[in-house]
Symmetry: C2
Subunit: 325 residues, 2 copies
């Protein structure tokens, strides 16, 4: 117990408070934060061997990725990033240096995004795990975007490029040779150190999109969740999916289609959203102003579920691509 | 993964929203909660074999205790209980019924305390763990009580009775016979299903106490943390500690002193606080009005650390009592 106290003290020394609204940071019974309107809270847990592997991710990358994945939910609501709370379950194999590297990775991303790590807990565990609580802020519920307001006739858009995380993991997993170039490095980076689309999320919310979700499991799964929450059917034209550079080549190497990695690979943490035709131009301007690539990939219709259409209009049945196979 | 989605759906069906401020509960990317002033957030993690054992606690009790332990930090700030977020790491040995029983235990305590479980995550893990995020609310920072404002000359008070949780665990651990009576049952209950002192915490904050902490590790450890945070010395007169009925008998059975269990047993989740003499009467009235037992156990002086004094004024060196020895 005593060494955990010491570790917590060392961790506190590495965390910077960076927002006036944080009135009391780590170290008391609880953190105290000024809240002007509504708070937006998401909790995500990551377990060694399930959500990441210490063989492919260094500890700094693990800290980065756990924070990124949780803040991605805040981005998908259109909220501003606020506070983070970090629970770390430390296995015996993991020393203080590794634990601090994990915190440093989390803190560096928090700094980049203007978020503050305000508390947490360190416990002993048979298996390394990280549980992150992310709190975002917004003026009111009306400024936020849920999953449940997609309407028949809406357009479906997506930010950024897809398939990069799955391709990066494939490269890391298979230690594929001859891929030490910049494109391969970008794919590995995409998997190891994803970035939540906070600025794009807020801009999309302000532009008036109807429904939004982040792509943690891939377009196929996440569009289905949005469709179910909204009670609509979403049609996605697969050939429109914006494929990251290099994904095609990696897909060929591992005998998959690029479209599979883009639609079902997951962990790209881009945003998928719907909006009425009359909001289209505002969305395009908003994405321009945040320098975010925007692609219109489909439409919302009556019905339920998701239809993935290939180039000749046939329906594809893409099953989830198992990341850790 | 699919079965985890189903489990999450079943869990959502068992959770009630019970506060107007919860605008969006579980099921979207994040929960959305109206916040009028400041939010008070604490995160605690509990691991099987470290913080509880499935051999002595049923799953409902585990859910109860994890929520109680986390809300105890909110009580120690003098805030109102608000929202809870529950991460459960499920090992393969644990089936859906056990997971739901854990959630039911958490939800029942949340209901009793007016808190709402608004989200969480379920992950696979080698070892059962529970991480709880508790969010409390208060008008402003000024209405809250930290650990750091104890002043030389203050009185030190404690709510309720001590030693019960440690004695209860001793009974459970050693399966001591001849203790099936009501007092023994109350001790076991004290360990298995503690109650956070939310009403007392708010009343103490309103009465104007200077510093406060909850007794999760015992008077000896927790008073030390408060003393260190405040830069003062705390003197505790051990014979004044309010000992729960039956603790004396259990202490004798296991060849310990009752005072050891009361001062270092921990997990009683009572509140320890300091206040100037002139606030004493207001504190006594506040504890009367919330029907909370109040005991003055010591004083704050210049210096640092904690001095535990026995009846004849000698300083005792009570080491932490290892719960899971």
């Amino acid at each position: 117990v005593s060494s955990e106290f010491e570790l917590i003290e060392r961790i506190k020394g590495r965390l910077a408070g960076r927002a006036e609204r944080v009135l009391i940071g780590p170290g008391d019974d609880a953190a105290v934060v000024q809240a002007g309107g509504v708070i937006v809270t998401s909790v995500d847990a990551f377990v060694d061997g399930v959500h990441f592997r210490t063989s492919t991710s260094c500890f700094s990358d693990i800290g980065h990725k756990c924070v990124a994945g949780t803040l991605s939910d805040i981005a998908a609501m259109g909220a501003r990033a606020g506070e983070l709370y970090l629970v770390i379950g430390l296995s015996e194999q993991i020393g203080e240096q590794e634990a601090l590297a994990l915190v440093d990775g989390a803190e560096a991303l928090a700094a980049q995004l203007g978020a503050s790590i305000c508390g947490g807990d360190i416990v002993r565990s048979a298996q390394l795990f990280v549980a992150v609580t992310a709190v975002g802020h917004a003026e009111s519920r009306q400024t936020l975007v849920t999953r449940s307001r997609a309407k028949s006739g809406d357009l479906v858009g997506v930010t950024g490029e897809l398939g990069g995380a799955a391709a990066g993991l494939a490269l890391l997993d298979r230690e594929i040779e001859g891929t030490q170039d910049r494109i391969a490095e970008a794919l590995r980076e995409r998997y190891l150190r994803p970035l939540p689309q906070l600025a794009a999320g807020r801009a999309l919310a302000e532009a008036g999109v109807g429904a939004m979700i982040d792509l943690s499991d891939g377009v196929a799964s996440d569009a289905l969740r949005l469709a179910e929450a909204s009670g609509v059917e979403i049609e996605v034209e697969l050939e429109r999916l914006p494929i990251q550079a290099g994904v095609e080549e990696v897909a060929t190497m591992i005998e998959r289609e690029a479209i599979e990695l883009a639609a079902t690979g997951g962990e790209d943490y881009e945003l998928l959203f719907t909006c009425p035709e009359q909001v289209r131009e505002r969305v395009e301007l908003a994405m321009n102003s945040t320098r975010t690539r925007l692609t219109w990939i489909g439409t919302v219709g009556d019905g339920t579920g998701v239809r993935l259409l290939d180039a000749d209009g046939g329906v594809r049945d893409l099953r989830g691509w198992d990341h850790l196979q």
